[in-house]
């Protein structure tokens, strides 16, 4: 609304959305831009739906409103659908096709959504779907899937690739810099073809 580029990262607790948000924030500092963000904290458990808001160039509040996100990055297929209304018309959606089924579908005997069904409902957003887990594995560690996702979405961001890579190097554990840099590049390469 005020010229900020608004990115919503969603996923499941434990998937590394907070590190991804920190990488974006750091890249903004490298480029000397303002940035605001907000995220889900609280219960130190895994498995809940989580969201990270990042407003590149943001000077006011940290929250992105429904219909306002320029870019939606989802670490899980179902979460992409849950937060799809946040995307603005013509916004970019980058989605890990990996699907973690919520325990609720088993305990409450709800119809189990299939990957095909969810991908079908997402089609109208023309998402870039990728298997971030597999790409991360190829890069050297499945834990790098969050960096793969950033790489795949990086083409849509108003940030230089070099700034993002520099931020990745600064924020990931030192021993994993090579794996994460590779994960970023492989993600970026995939995103380019999407």
């Amino acid at each position: 609304m005020t010229g900020s580029f608004d990115i919503l990262i969603v996923g499941i607790g434990g998937q590394g959305t907070i590190l991804a948000s920190n990488i974006l924030g750091k890249a903004c500092l490298i480029e000397d831009r303002h940035v605001k963000g907000a995220e889900t904290h609280g219960m130190a458990q895994r498995g809940g739906s989580v969201e990270s808001h990042i407003r590149i160039g943001g000077k006011f509040g940290p929250l992105i409103m429904p219909g306002q996100a320029d870019l939606l990055i989802s670490f899980d297929l179902l979460e992409a659908l849950r937060y799809s209304h946040y995307l603005k018309r013509g916004g970019r959606m980058v989605v890990n096709r990996h699907l973690v089924l919520p325990t609720s579908v088993f305990t409450q005997k709800i119809a189990i959504p299939t990957e095909e069904e969810i991908s079908g409902r997402l089609k109208k957003y023309n998402p870039c779907l990728l298997d971030a887990d597999q790409i991360a594995n190829e890069a050297g560690s499945v834990l790098a899937q969050n960096v793969v996702m950033l790489g795949a979405a990086s083409g849509a961001m108003p940030l230089k690739s070099e700034s993002l890579v520099a931020a990745v190097k600064e924020l990931v554990p030192p021993k994993t810099i090579a794996v994460n840099t590779k994960a970023f590049d492989m993600g970026r390469e995939f995103g380019r073809k999407c």
Partner: protein
């Protein structure tokens, strides 16, 4: 000076370091916990830091430090301030010599809380200054400035960020951290520190006399500022002010309230220059009430006439809607959008291998038709399992249990409480229950840590906030000292053993305590505890659903048979539940 992308709480912690803080205490509570969690891991720490057992204890410790002339910070969440309100109220009378900042984080929308109370009301009640940041940068700057402000007026200062400040991030300009070098020294002065009636009456008068100067100073410092741009005006505070600033059309005046008490003369002078006023603030109508007192008939729009809600948190969409309704904005710039319907929910649930789920299972097995008071912690999620009937505040599981037990309902009363919550405010309730002869069972869910807020150590953990080893308290000995004769410790992963002890407790009268002891599964993983994973033998599984109903997130259903995923932490409970004997240790291919 440097610029960093920081969480609000990290920025507050850094500002405390820039102020040369000498003493830090607090009790964890979302959204406040990361302040001490950041400070306690600082290298070359020159200040004292503790996780206290509760907020009253934390506040009294920090108050004493400030009496000794050193700078003290005490952190808690808004409901913690209720626990600490007793010393708070009178600390305003005694005052302080060293800077004393009470950081009480509010939680509009109750993201992770039991209510939506407003710490500004406590500041008003206690007659102490309160700072109310609208951004991460302001939270940092206000924390830094709060110590000199406290020292200038000799009063505690409340800093009250909200969830959207504590857990939001921003690029923040930081100053340099300086080591705390003050040495505390207590100067005896009974007229100041012994609040007998003869002294306290004089202290109360002195407190009241300080107020006008505080109000003026808060305007001088720029916390409360205004800009006249037209004939109508918005007055806003906290995160709401940030939302307003993004939306405000040219030609509308704006006043930002960042500190309390508000100078009425300054406020009145601003209001008088306008034809109508809109007040935007979260939680209580603290600003609005002051505005109405001095508005002199100028129309005021806010909560009190239905333009803004009392409940929940503000958002840009909501603020825009309020501005449109009150005639401060032509059109809401956000067009309404509908979320996708019929998606399975993904609420927070207890972890795979959590001791609480196993304990709740055993409780339900033994006490089928009982009343289950519970408490505040991860285990409140036992609501999903049908074993949480009440939760009101920290420590109230035991007291609610004894209250129900004395009320004539013939059913068994079985309450659950975590180890940290028991040490926080549970013990008094246990003493009371034993003393007054209640018939009830208390299950202490002992995971050795304060789990929900991010794994802070407590007296049960065997380590302090700063990582120093300390003898872990014996919950068994504490309960026996309270007069409980039936105290049994069980391993909740041993379902049969736990069921047996619960069944024994069910037979007996009086207060029975069962300590279900097993390390929090997240801590166990961090500590390197490795257990064998389990797997379902598909040929033996009958698809009966017993293990699925247990609710473990590591168990899913594929082609009508159970399957155990990589989330398995090896607690083995499902193997004990499976009637077909289909679950066993995973055989690695």
């Amino acid at each position: 000076m440097e610029r960093k992308y920081l969480l609000g709480n990290e920025a507050i912690a850094h500002a405390a370091l820039e102020s040369g803080v000498d003493f830090v205490s607090g009790y964890p509570g979302t959204p406040s916990s990361e302040i001490i969690d950041t400070l306690r891991v600082q290298p070359d720490r020159s200040f004292y830091i503790e996780w206290s057992v509760n907020e009253k204890v934390a506040l009294e410790n920090a108050l004493a430090a400030a009496w000794c002339g050193i700078r003290a910070l005490c952190t808690m969440k808004h409901v913690g301030l209720n626990v600490a309100s007793d010393p708070l109220m009178t600390s305003a009378y005694t005052g302080v010599t060293g800077g004393f900042v009470i950081m009480s984080a509010d939680d509009p929308f109750a993201h992770s809380s039991q209510n939506e109370q407003d710490s500004r009301c406590y500041a008003h009640f206690a007659k102490v200054p309160c700072l109310d940041p609208a951004s991460v940068q302001e939270a940092h700057d206000m924390m830094r400035d709060a110590f000199p402000l406290s020292e200038e007026f000799g009063l505690p200062v409340i800093l009250r960020p909200t969830t959207r400040i504590c857990h939001s991030k921003g690029d923040v300009v930081l100053g340099d951290a300086v080591p705390g070098t003050r040495k505390g020294e207590f100067h005896k002065d009974p007229r100041q520190y012994v609040v007998i009636p003869a002294h306290t009456r004089i202290l109360h008068k002195k407190l009241n006399e300080k107020q006008p100067a505080i109000k003026k100073r808060l305007v001088e410092r720029g916390y409360n500022r205004c800009e006249i741009r037209g004939r109508i005006a918005v007055i806003a505070s906290g995160i709401g002010a940030s939302y307003v600033e993004e939306l405000l059309p040219a030609g509308i005046s704006f006043a930002k309230i960042g500190a309390y008490p508000i100078d009425e003369d300054w406020l009145e002078a601003f209001i008088k220059k306008h034809e109508k006023i809109l007040v935007i603030e979260e939680l209580a109508p603290e600003v609005e009430e002051q505005v109405r007192q001095v508005s002199g008939g100028i129309p005021v729009f806010g909560k009190k006439n239905g333009y803004a809600p009392y409940e929940g948190e503000l958002s840009p969409v909501l603020v825009a809607a309020i501005m449109v309704r009150a005639g401060f904005l032509q059109k809401n710039p956000f067009s309404p959008v509908e979320p996708e319907q019929n998606l399975p929910v993904r609420p927070p649930i207890l972890c795979a291998g959590c001791l609480h789920r196993a304990t709740f299972f055993a409780i339900k097995k033994v006490f089928k038709d009982a009343i289950y008071p519970s408490d505040i912690g991860c285990y409140t999620l036992g609501l999903q399992l049908g074993v949480v009937d009440t939760t009101i505040c920290m420590g109230a599981s035991i007291t609610v249990a004894s209250g129900i037990a004395h009320s004539g309902d013939p059913r068994d009363v079985v309450c659950t409480i975590g180890d940290s919550t028991f040490l926080h405010t549970g013990i008094q309730g246990l003493i009371n229950a034993v003393y007054n002869g209640a018939n009830m069972t208390v299950v202490i869910l002992d995971n050795r840590i304060t789990g929900m807020t991010g794994h802070q150590p407590n007296p049960n953990t065997g380590v302090t906030a700063s990582g120093v080893e300390t003898p872990p308290i014996s919950l068994d000995a504490v309960c026996r000292a309270c007069g409980v004769t039936f105290v049994e410790t069980v391993d909740p992963f041993d379902i049969a053993g736990t069921v047996n002890v619960l069944a024994e407790a069910k037979k007996r009268r009086g207060v029975k305590v069962i300590i279900a002891k097993q390390m929090c599964v997240i801590m166990a993983r961090r500590a390197g505890v490795k257990r064998k994973h389990f797997a379902v033998n598909g040929d033996v599984c009958t698809g009966c659903g017993t293990c699925v109903r247990f609710g473990c997130p590591a168990i899913e259903v594929v082609d009508e048979k159970a399957r155990i995923t990589g989330l398995c932490s090896g607690c083995s409970v499902c193997t004990q539940l499976c009637p077909a004997g289909a679950i066993g240790p995973e055989v690695l291919k």
